[in-house]
């Protein structure tokens, strides 16, 4: 029983990191129909900014998170205006994939040039580092923080999309962008804001998840498949889908590592195959005609 709890808590922590980073990608794919392969690259920029802010500017962890999120959004603005805006909802997938993978390589090169090729740690504040006794086992305090961040993110997004006027407009634009336009909703502004939100969430996930997915220049490529898999298992654009997919995959991966580490990523991808076979549009996805 203790073992089961142990695995569960590691699985939830890992799943939450996947969720925070992937939800931005999921929103973009669901709303703008953009397969943004550069999403991990923006998460990586967030991680680098936070690392720089803490290690060289000596600001507090919380300030660093804020700086990373805002900084990454600022960096992403030229990309949105010059490139992404042209491919929302219309271009064929090949153009999207080529463009966003190009952006990924571009960002990897620039980051490598500026920050160097080595791993960058994001030092944790005293309150979040070290072990914490939770009764039946010791747990890194940071994991609790990650789980809390994931829960708060999921709730806040749900409130934003279901309970606010912005959410109503957003859902209208998703369901029928032409009609939404005709009713006077400025869809291009909705898209721009959603893009910023998605990138900001990616950067946030990159920073808080850095203990589990360490920040290095090839981060953007190394975890790209993982993030895409979460979205395709969960179903593009669904918060509940991304959350349940993240937890499911986190559980599969952690259980596999615990019980049979020599199998590597086998259990992770096995569960992906099973889910996609049973639910071709993802757990909570809708088919886009």
């Amino acid at each position: 029983m203790r073992t089961v709890f142990s695995i569960m808590i590691d699985a939830v922590a890992y799943g939450m990191v996947l969720f925070i980073i992937s939800i931005g990608l999921s929103i973009m794919m669901g709303l703008m129909r953009v397969v943004n392969l550069a999403h991990g690259a923006f998460a990586m920029i967030g991680g680098y900014l936070a690392s720089y802010a803490i290690r060289d500017l000596h600001v507090h962890y919380s300030v660093a998170i804020l700086m990373a999120v805002v900084g990454t959004i600022i960096v992403s603005i030229p990309f949105e205006i010059l490139l992404y805006r042209r491919i929302y909802r219309k271009s064929d997938p090949l153009i999207q994939v080529l463009m966003t993978i190009g952006i990924t390589f571009f960002i990897i090169g620039i980051v490598n040039f500026i920050f160097g090729p080595s791993l960058k740690s994001i030092p944790l504040p005293q309150t979040l580092s070290g072990p914490l006794d939770i009764g039946f086992r010791m747990l890194p305090t940071h994991r609790i923080f990650v789980i809390a961040c994931g829960v708060v993110t999921a709730l806040a997004l749900w409130l934003l999309i279901e309970k606010t006027e912005f959410g109503i407009k957003l859902r209208a634009s998703v369901d029928h962008s032409g009609m939404a336009d005709a009713l006077g909703i400025r869809t291009e502004i909705i898209y721009a804001v959603t893009f910023a939100l998605a990138i900001g969430l990616g950067a946030f996930g990159g920073v808080v998840g850095a203990e589990i997915l360490p920040i290095e220049p090839f981060y953007a490529l190394r975890y790209m498949v993982t993030f895409l898999v979460v979205v395709s298992v969960g179903g593009a654009g669904s918060i509940l889908g991304a959350l349940s997919a993240s937890l499911l995959l986190g559980l599969a991966d952690t259980t596999g590592k615990y019980l049979a580490p020599e199998f590597g990523d086998f259990f992770f991808y096995l569960s992906v195959i099973v889910v996609v076979f049973l639910f071709p549009h993802g757990l909570f996805g809708r088919s886009h005609a």
Binding site: T3, S129, H142, F218, E262
Partner: protein, 391 residues
């Protein structure tokens, strides 16, 4: 083969030999991890070689020496083989050197006998590499060499039940075998042996598994780089360190550039290794001073720089012995039994295995003058590769 083609071949060989002998620049191809997650270690190859050149000049005997660097990037045998081929055919190098990863060294080995080229391995640490070609000489270390002293130390410190956690590839398997053989041979018990996939970054589940096994000591090997930091942090943050479980490793897990990232929580971690940047000797002080003078950052020095520095010494000796001619057998013979004092301590090349014999030191992470270092406390003198030699 008829007479005509024989004479053409003879002419071609003659042309090739005179071509290299009259050329006054001897080229050495260095294959190392120059970019990517392991770039620090490739950079150290260059720092070590540059330090040797700064101290001994660009000439070996009467011949100019030029080092050409290529990027192996990651464990990618196909790419490394292609790089070696390109260096041999296009750049016409007479010596190959470097190589961080074992699989890459294995892929290059078959080319050496075809092209009669010596390879000085400056890192890749699986014992069997030197058996793949008579033209391979190694100046780094092997897992067996560093692990046997670790097992002896664990026994002496009273470890009864050990959990072994290693990366699931050549050197990891070697480390596991070396520790198991030594430790169980003296009556210890190995209660858990985990092989971790190379790409793993989240070690929390593995720590929990080790904890549940009831081990009092963990022995680990992971290749220096991003995973080692994650492993040590998981060991501390999952409460194993506070719970009294000891961590023993080969020094790969606590390389000096990683120590500031591990932080004060790492104090007390034991390791057995052949080189510490803080090694107290006049040779090491001179070596570090040269690196610093050449613009190198002393916080970035790792074991690969000293292996490269000693490797460059062998290459210079080989060039002198063959007078710049392409003669791999003579070159390798010239360095067998060579003895010198390296920045890491006294070393020699074992004539039968062509692997370096050296001291292995027991170290623990300590804070000295506000800086975390690997402080040496005990010396295991003149250690061979225990998989290849019995004593």
């Amino acid at each position: 083969m008829n007479r005509r083609s024989q004479s053409i071949l003879a002419l071609a060989i003659l042309g090739l030999m005179t071509g290299t002998a009259s050329a006054d620049t001897i080229k050495v191809g260095v294959i190392g991890t120059m970019s990517g997650p392991y770039a620090l270690f490739g950079k150290n190859f260059k720092m070590g070689i540059d330090a040797w050149v700064a101290e001994h000049g660009t000439k070996a005997g009467k011949h100019d020496v030029e080092f050409i660097y290529r990027d192996e990037e990651s464990p990618n045998p196909a790419k490394s083989k292609a790089l070696a081929q390109e260096l041999l055919v296009k750049d016409k190098v007479q010596y190959l050197a470097g190589v961080y990863f074992t699989p890459n060294a294995m892929a290059i080995a078959p080319l050496l006998e075809e092209s009669k080229t010596p390879l000085i391995v400056m890192n890749a640490a699986t014992s069997s590499i030197v058996e793949k070609s008579p033209y391979i000489v190694r100046t780094s270390f092997t897992m067996w060499q560093n692990t046997v002293p670790a097992a002896k130390t664990a026994l002496k410190n009273g470890a009864k039940k050990v959990a072994i956690a290693v990366s699931d590839y050549g050197p990891g398997v070697d480390a596991e075998a070396a520790f198991k053989k030594t430790f169980e041979g003296e009556g210890g018990a190995v209660v858990e042996a985990v092989r971790i996939p190379l790409a793993t970054t989240d070690f929390s589940p593995i720590m929990q598994r080790i904890k549940d096994s009831g081990a009092d000591t963990i022995f680990t090997f992971l290749p220096s780089g991003p995973p080692t930091l994650g492993f040590v942090k998981a060991y501390i943050d999952n409460g194993l360190k506070a719970g009294g479980v000891k961590l023993m490793s080969t020094g790969d897990v606590v390389t000096e550039p990683d120590l500031p990232n591990i932080g004060d929580a790492g104090i007390g971690i034991l390791s057995t290794y052949h080189y510490s940047v803080s090694h107290d000797s006049k040779e090491n002080a001179a070596f570090l001073a040269t690196i610093k003078k050449g613009g190198g950052n002393l916080d970035e020095v790792t074991m690969t720089s000293v292996a490269a520095y000693d490797g460059a010494r062998l290459i210079y000796k080989m060039i002198e012995a063959t007078d710049g001619k392409r003669d791999a057998a003579k070159a390798v013979d010239a360095v067998k039994d060579m003895k010198w004092v390296s920045p890491r301590g006294p070393v020699s090349i074992d004539p039968t295995t062509r692997h370096i014999r050296q001291n292995v030191y027991l170290r623990s992470v300590e804070k000295v003058d506000g800086k975390l270092i690997n402080k040496e406390s005990q010396t295991f003198a003149d250690q061979p590769d225990w998989a290849l030699s019995a004593k």
